[in-house]
Amino acid sequence: MAASIAVAGLGITEMGKVYGRSASDFAAEAIALALDDAGLGFSDVDGLLVHSNLSPEMTVNLQWSLGFHDLPVLAAIGAYGSTPAAMFNYATRVIESGQAETVVMVYADAPLRPAGSAGAAYANANPPEGMDSVNVAHGFYGANVGYALAAKRHMELFGTTSEQFGAVAVAQREWAVMNPHAQMRKPITLEDHQSSRWVVEPLHLLDCCLVSNGAVAVVVTSSERAKDLRQPPVHLLGLGQFAPGDSKRTDREPGIYTGATEAGRQAFAQAGVGVNDFDFLEIYDCYTYTVIVTLEDYGFCKKGEGGAFVADGKLGPRGALPTNTGGGQLSSYYMWGFTPLSEAIIQLRGQAGERQVAKHDLALVSGNGGFLNFHGTLVLSTRES
């Protein structure tokens, strides 16, 4: 299918322990950078899609806190890490119909405070009540425990090992070393991974993503118009979304069989591509395990073989399947689905500098959220079809 919309602008703020700025401040900066990148101005924007996340600022109220007015298109969209697929679906509709011409999508967050540790930034919200309070009574805190339970189950079923998780962490750090936006740029070895402290066993510290203050904004317009703007267009060829949801029934296990299978099938069919056509992959990586199970479910390898598949370093800069080429959320920055999205745009444009992949025409961008309960897939390309 021929693309109808394309990414024309990208803005990435400074990332990590950047204090004294709110999520709205970061959002404003990222949007200014993205518009400048596209060669457009503030008054060109007629659509704003705000990425709902854990920040109370990320609602439609962002419109007036940033000074936007008279927008024909405005929505806050949230499907955790699968949000980009939902946003691009909506943007396609409003751009094709003429309701809007220049749509800005923005993710921003500022959970880190000078005194707090990264892990505590999200884990200690207000105490839940009722049945929700049962989890914390048993010591189930934050995403780390949920993903550890899924990873442990995968290890039991298929013999996946911590060293195989480590291969993902090491490969992604190799990419991050070459990424000026990345928070973690010191090389690591498999031994470093193995000796990093347990957070929730079987997850070591180096299996877990970062937490970041910062923002990413993306400007989307019609593929036709994007060709006349400043940057090489990045066209949307296909997308899919799938939410397996309930993991509290014994006949379901989305932590092992994720929504990537179905979201990928939809996206690949729309784009008219197969799993072996991609030049590089940007796979949601809240944990190393997430990458492994997602690769399986897209069909890069068989179910259960993801650990062995990544163990030879094929995801790294010298590997056969360049993946998370900016370091991902493990090593660059944690902007949910906007981390894989932003890196795909940079690589497709050929602007990745030292870490540029040689062939960069077709990218798989994969989002995941919850405890592997939500999934979104984008196929992006320099080509229009």
Binding site: A120, H138, Y141, K152
Partner: protein, 135 residues
């Protein structure tokens, strides 16, 4: 009883029958009269068919260890003395997967697939937790 320093569940109107059951040594869950399915966690309508014809009923309290993880990070000071402690998912024979802890087995002897049974633990005079032990 020593002072209990871990976070306590907060009983609300909807979840009260669940916590009352635990004080009686039973794992009471909602069961749908329309489709014969069991619920976890507490819900207003059936998670399978959206019926509101839900009854509270004691489960047999037996199941299989689906997965477990060992928490080393101290997220709450009440757990500090027990690091690492296990958090587990148990698949009840009634078809629901519950969050729990496995008691009575050292962490390094836990095995996915083990058969387990309810072992309620009274933590204050009016609150008990649904833990499980290997059978």
């Amino acid at each position: 009883m020593e002072e209990y320093t871990k976070p306590l569940p907060i009983r609300d109107e909807r979840s009260a029958p669940f916590f009352d059951g635990l004080l009686d040594g039973e794992l009471r869950l909602q069961h749908c009269l329309a489709c014969d399915q069991w619920m976890w966690p507490v819900t207003l309508r059936c998670r399978h068919c959206l019926s509101d014809q839900l009854e509270w009923k004691a489960s047999a309290g037996k199941g299989t260890l689906y997965s477990f993880a060992l928490v080393h990070q101290i997220y709450h000071p009440g757990f500090a003395d027990e690091i690492p402690y296990n958090v587990a998912f148990v698949d009840l024979d009634e078809g629901v997967r519950v969050t729990t802890n496995i008691v009575g087995t050292p962490n390094d002897e836990l095995a996915i697939g083990s058969r387990v049974e309810l072992a309620t633990e009274l933590v204050t005079h009016d609150m008990a937790l649904a833990k499980f032990r290997v059978v």
